[in-house]
C-alpha cells in the first residue's frame, strides 16, 4: 500500500542570476531583470513529496513532525531570509530555481530517512515552478 505524501513549505530569499562564465553583456542578455546587480527576492513555495508503505500501527507513511523538523533544520535555517548567492551551495553555480531544487533535493535525500524522497518542487512565483526527482529519473 504505497502512498505519496506531499508537504508545502514557504521560504523567502533573495538571489541574483549571474554567471562568472559569461560576459556582463551576455549575463544581461541571458538573465534580463534577474541580472540586476542588487538582486531581488521571492517567496519560494517548496513542495516535498515522499513515499512509502503505510505503517499499520500509525497509519502514516512517515511522521510529519519529523519531516517538518528536518525541513526546518536543513532548509529553513539555511536559506530562509538569506541571499542565496552568499551561500556556499551556490559558490560555484547560479542560484536559479532549477539549481535550488537540486540543492534542496540533495540535502533532504541525505538528511531525511523517514520515507523515500520522491520529488522536490519549487514554485518561484505562482506562474513558474521547477521540480527535481533525482538523477534516476533522468536516465
Amino acid at each position: 500500500m504505497k502512498v505519496h505524501l506531499t508537504r508545502r513549505y514557504m521560504i523567502a530569499a533573495s538571489h541574483r542570476l549571474h554567471s562568472d562564465k559569461l560576459s556582463d553583456a551576455d549575463n544581461r542578455e541571458t538573465y534580463g531583470k534577474c541580472n540586476n546587480p542588487h538582486g531581488h527576492g521571492h517567496n519560494y513555495v517548496i513542495e516535498v513529496t515522499v513515499s512509502g508503505q503505510v505503517n499499520p500501527r500509525t497509519g502514516m507513511v512517515c511522521n510529519l513532525a519529523d519531516l517538518d523538523e528536518c525541513f526546518r533544520r536543513e532548509v529553513m535555517d539555511r536559506f530562509d531570509h538569506q541571499d542565496l548567492n552568499t551561500r556556499h551551495e551556490f559558490a560555484a553555480q547560479v542560484p536559479t530555481t532549477e539549481n535550488f531544487a537540486v540543492v534542496i533535493y540533495d540535502i533532504l535525500k541525505r538528511e531525511f530517512h523517514g520515507a523515500h524522497l520522491e520529488k522536490v518542487r519549487i514554485e518561484e512565483t505562482a506562474n513558474n515552478s521547477f521540480e527535481f526527482c533525482g538523477l534516476a529519473q533522468l536516465s
Partner: protein, 136 residues
C-alpha cells in the same frame, strides 16, 4: 489516453489513537492529533480517472455519473461526520490522510465502469496532501 480530474470537498472530524500504544506513545507519535475530543479539517478530494475518449460522446467518463459516485461514496459517507466513529473503515484503523486516500480509492475503484481510476489525492490542508495510485 486522457486523464480527467474531478474535485469535491468534505468537512470531517477525526483523532489519531492506537489502542495498542500507551497514552505517552500516542501523545509522542501523534502530538496534537491524539486529542481524543477530536478536531476537524476541510478536506479537498481530487479524483483522477483515465481512459480513451468515447468517439460517440467525446467523453472519457460521464461526469454526471462520476459526480453521483463521489457524492454517494464520499460526501454522503464522510461530510460533516466524525471519521473515527461514523465511517466503518476507521473502526479499526487510524483515519490519517494516508488511510483516507486508500479508503476512498477502495470505495471508488469498483464503481467506475468506462474509465479507470488513476489517482486519489486528498488535501487535509492546502499545505498537506496524499496521493494514492492503488496497489502497484
Amino acid at each position: 489516453m486522457i486523464h480527467l480530474t474531478r474535485k469535491c470537498e468534505f468537512s470531517a472530524s477525526h483523532y489519531y489513537h492506537n489502542p495498542e500504544f500507551t497514552p505517552e506513545e500516542n501523545q509522542r507519535i501523534f502530538g496534537k492529533c491524539a486529542n481524543l475530543n477530536g478536531h476537524g479539517h476541510n478536506y479537498t478530494l481530487e479524483v483522477t480517472v483515465k481512459g480513451e475518449v468515447d468517439p460517440t460522446t467525446g467523453f472519457v467518463v460521464d461526469l454526471k455519473r462520476l459526480k453521483d459516485i463521489l457524492n454517494d461514496e464520499v460526501v454522503e459517507a464522510m461530510d460533516h461526520r466524525h471519521l473515527n466513529k461514523e465511517v466503518p473503515e476507521f473502526a479499526n484503523q487510524i483515519p490519517t490522510t494516508e488511510n483516507i486516500a486508500v479508503a476512498i480509492w477502495n470505495r471508488l475503484s469498483s464503481k467506475l465502469c468506462t474509465a479507470k481510476l488513476h489517482r486519489v489525492r486528498v488535501y487535509e490542508t492546502p499545505d498537506l496532501f496524499v496521493d494514492y495510485y492503488g496497489e502497484q
